[in-house]
């Protein structure tokens, strides 16, 4: 086990710059997710760490030592691929044994027929078989060891791929969207199992996904990547509650965060649709910006509602109800969360008033950077005016 350190990695494919100065430190035993939309460079970054791709500039360190010029086979990393990449002609047991055979047996001992009579082969083979069985027991696939990958379901194949990764003791595990070929139910189950595996092995995990839910539920830290850069790398709660940039706020969270255009005045007062809100920022210049409100930050209110509009759509998820409201004077929809027992009063077309929790309001400036230091003012509108 070892920590990883990525220092100022750049990657170009011809004219296109895929990674633009990415730096990231991953502690020993940490679970870090690289999350972002497709094409953001997250898989390329993982492949550079693995050594399957070479960076244009920058350095990768494993356990404090640079691996520049070292090929993937020598970096002692394990990788789980999106397609699982199991060898179709080998049984499950043989698949899991491949990394051990490749590292512990020499070319002669691996020969199909001659290998059997080479000295030391039997002892090594027994050792390997023991470790394969152990790995298979951890993943509960011991009963599948004699089958071929073609005879397994997607979930079982995924476990075999995990087994092949954990059978030796690598410096770190690299996982490239390992759950994206599974159905929704299995994905939720396997998610928990991978997190459990991480706790059990106490190993370093780097997990690439485009699914923010996977990233949120499994990781110690999330690195949100967009356009070849890491926009923010922090604990899941921090990324959700305290995003640095508007892109991060938009990407993390489902349903998506509501963004409303606001104006910031010289006094720091925030105005929405020309009306002052009970919210000020530390910034004392006149500017336009966005107000970000998560669906759970909004609540229904009757009087003095800063936002009014008609209900256009409701989604009942059983435990919670998401309501889309077409806001008057704004021409766009916002979504808020409520409990399903309010459903009766929330008919389509009904006019509702909405207020929000000022502590949970996120203000972003015109270029999308977070404007911090916001304060809620309990004073009423008339006094401020």
């Amino acid at each position: 086990m070892a920590g990883l350190s990525i220092k100022n990695i750049n990657k170009r494919f011809g004219e296109t710059e895929v990674l633009k100065g990415v730096s990231l430190d991953i502690a020993d035993g940490e679970f870090v997710s690289l999350v972002g939309p497709s094409g953001c460079g997250k898989s390329t970054l993982l492949r550079i760490i693995a050594g399957l791709e070479e960076q244009t500039s920058g350095d990768v360190q494993i356990g404090g030592a640079s691996v520049a010029g070292q090929r993937a086979a020598d970096r002692n990393l394990s990788m789980v691929f999106q397609s699982y990449a199991l060898y179709p002609h080998l049984s499950v047991g043989e698949n899991i044994a491949v990394p051990l055979r490749m590292r512990r047996m020499n070319t002669l001992q691996r020969l199909p027929l001659l290998g059997g009579v080479m000295p030391g082969k039997t002892r090594r083979a027994e050792e390997i078989a023991k470790e394969v069985t152990h790995a298979a027991e951890i993943l509960e696939i011991a009963h599948l060891l004699d089958r071929k990958p073609g005879q397994l379901s997607g979930g079982q194949r995924q476990r075999v791929a995990l087994g092949r990764a954990l059978v030796r003791d690598p410096a770190a595990f690299l996982l490239d969207e390992p759950l994206s070929n599974l159905d929704a139910k299995l994905r939720v189950q396997t998610r928990a199992e991978i997190a459990q595996l991480h706790r059990q092995l106490k190993a370093t995990f780097v997990y690439v996904t485009h699914d923010q839910v996977e990233a949120m539920t499994m990781s110690d830290r999330i690195a949100v990547m967009m356009g070849g850069r890491i926009l923010q790398c922090a604990a899941p709660e921090t990324v959700y509650d305290d995003p640095d940039r508007i892109e991060v706020a938009e990407f993390i969270g489902s349903p998506k965060i509501n963004l409303l255009p606001v104006e910031l005045s010289e006094t720091g007062q925030v105005h929405l649709l020309g009306e002052p809100l009970s919210l000020t920022t530390g910034r004392r210049t006149k500017a336009v910006g966005s107000l970000g409100l998560r669906p759970e930050a909004l609540f229904l209110t009757d009087s003095n509602a800063p936002l009014r509009g008609q209900i256009v759509h409701t989604e009942n998820l059983g435990s919670e109800l998401f309501v889309q409201v077409e806001v008057n004077g704004l021409g766009s929809r916002i979504t808020f969360r409520t409990t399903p027992d309010k459903r009766a009063s929330l008919a389509q077309g009904a006019t509702v008033g909405l207020d929000f929790d000022a502590d949970k309001a996120l203000i972003f400036d015109a270029i999308g950077a977070r404007v911090r230091d916001t304060h809620s003012t309990t004073t009423s509108k008339t006094e401020v005016a």
């Binding site: 399957l52 086979a73 990788m79 990449a85 002609h89 490749m102 070319t107 073609g150 092949r164």
Partner: protein, 326 residues
């Protein structure tokens, strides 16, 4: 639908029965033409040939006698036919492994190229496209003992160091270089060489197609698993993935090798090379059945030929189903 509509139960049963009969009839009518064609074009000739192999029939004769297994007895006792089997098997055993190996090697090399792939592919495929009969004439000129390009080139080596290190060269310079097509020691190998030259491009194209089906991520997985050398990656990923292609390529090459005929007919139209050393089965069938009008013995060779090919096909089926399908 039935009882509610007031239709009696029996009527419904009758209706479904007649419906079934109609469906079956339609099925026979639709498959009939294909079945008839298959029997008339493919199965009947084989059946006729197998019957004729037990007779002494000649084309033009009004009748024939049943001779039992006498034709087959001749096949397995006379020295001419022993030479036929030796020549055929020598050719097959030489040409198949080498042309498959070269095909695979060329395909792997071409597949690793970034540029000029198409150029190489076309060049290697040229001999496959060319008519072997026409090519045979070109080869005949090149192999001519005195004015042929090959012996002329070899003569250029006389007087150099090659004479000292290569006894073949020394002997050639002292006396004369081989009469390639007229020497029973060389004839079958020359034919084999031309067979390989002509056939490996075809195998290469099949292997290139097979290589496109190898999953790229498997190479990355192999690298992560510690497969450092190209040979290890080949053993772990490429070769197993090419299993179905290999079975097909080997079978096709075998059948093509058994069928070798045009080079031999072009070089030695009078009968199977020096001392019958290149008297292959296809040529024997042609000579007996067509040139000498001995339909009975010709049919018998055909049946043995068919048995060989059938045997190969069955092995292929077995391998495909049992070993190389994952």
């Amino acid at each position: 639908m039935s009882l509610a509509d007031g239709v009696p139960h029996e009527a419904v049963v009758e209706k479904t029965v007649s419906h079934n009969v109609k469906e079956r009839r339609a099925a026979w009518i639709l498959t009939g033409p294909a079945l008839i064609l298959m029997v008339v074009i493919l199965l009947a000739p084989i059946l006729v040939a197998s019957l004729l192999s037990f007779t002494n029939y000649s084309l033009g004769n009004s009748g024939f006698d049943w001779v039992g297994f006498r034709n087959y007895e001749k096949l397995f006792t006379r020295s001419t036919y022993a030479k036929m089997f030796v020549a055929t098997l020598t050719y097959v055993v030489t040409v198949v492994p080498i042309s498959v190996g070269l095909g695979l090697g060329a395909a792997l090399l071409i597949n690793s190229l970034g540029r000029f792939r198409e150029v190489y592919k076309t060049i290697y495929f040229l001999p496959v496209m060319a008519t072997l009969l026409a090519m045979a004439i070109a080869w005949e000129f090149m192999l001519h003992p005195s004015i042929g390009m090959i012996n002329r080139t070899l003569e250029m080596g006389c007087g150099t160091f090659l004479e000292r290190i290569w006894s073949f060269m020394a002997n050639g310079c002292a006396g004369h270089f081989p009469v390639w097509l007229g020497d029973k020691r060389y004839a079958i190998w020359v034919i084999s060489f031309i067979g390989i030259w002509q056939g490996f491009g075809f195998n290469m194209v099949l292997y290139l197609a097979g290589l496109t089906g190898v999953h790229r991520e498997l190479y990355h997985a192999a690298e992560m698993d510690g497969a450092r050398s190209a040979w290890e990656r080949f053993r772990l990923v490429t070769w197993p993935a090419l299993g179905p292609t290999t079975v097909f390529v080997v079978t096709i090459s075998c059948i093509r090798a058994f069928q070798v005929f045009d080079t031999i007919e072009a070089f030695w139209p009078q009968g199977g090379g020096p001392n019958k050393s290149t008297y292959v089965m296809m040529f024997a069938i042609f000579e007996k059945g067509v040139q000498q009008n001995l339909i009975g013995i010709g049919s018998a060779i055909t049946m043995v030929f068919l048995a060989f090919v059938m045997f190969l096909t069955l092995i292929q089926r077995w391998l495909v189903e049992r070993k190389v399908h994952y």
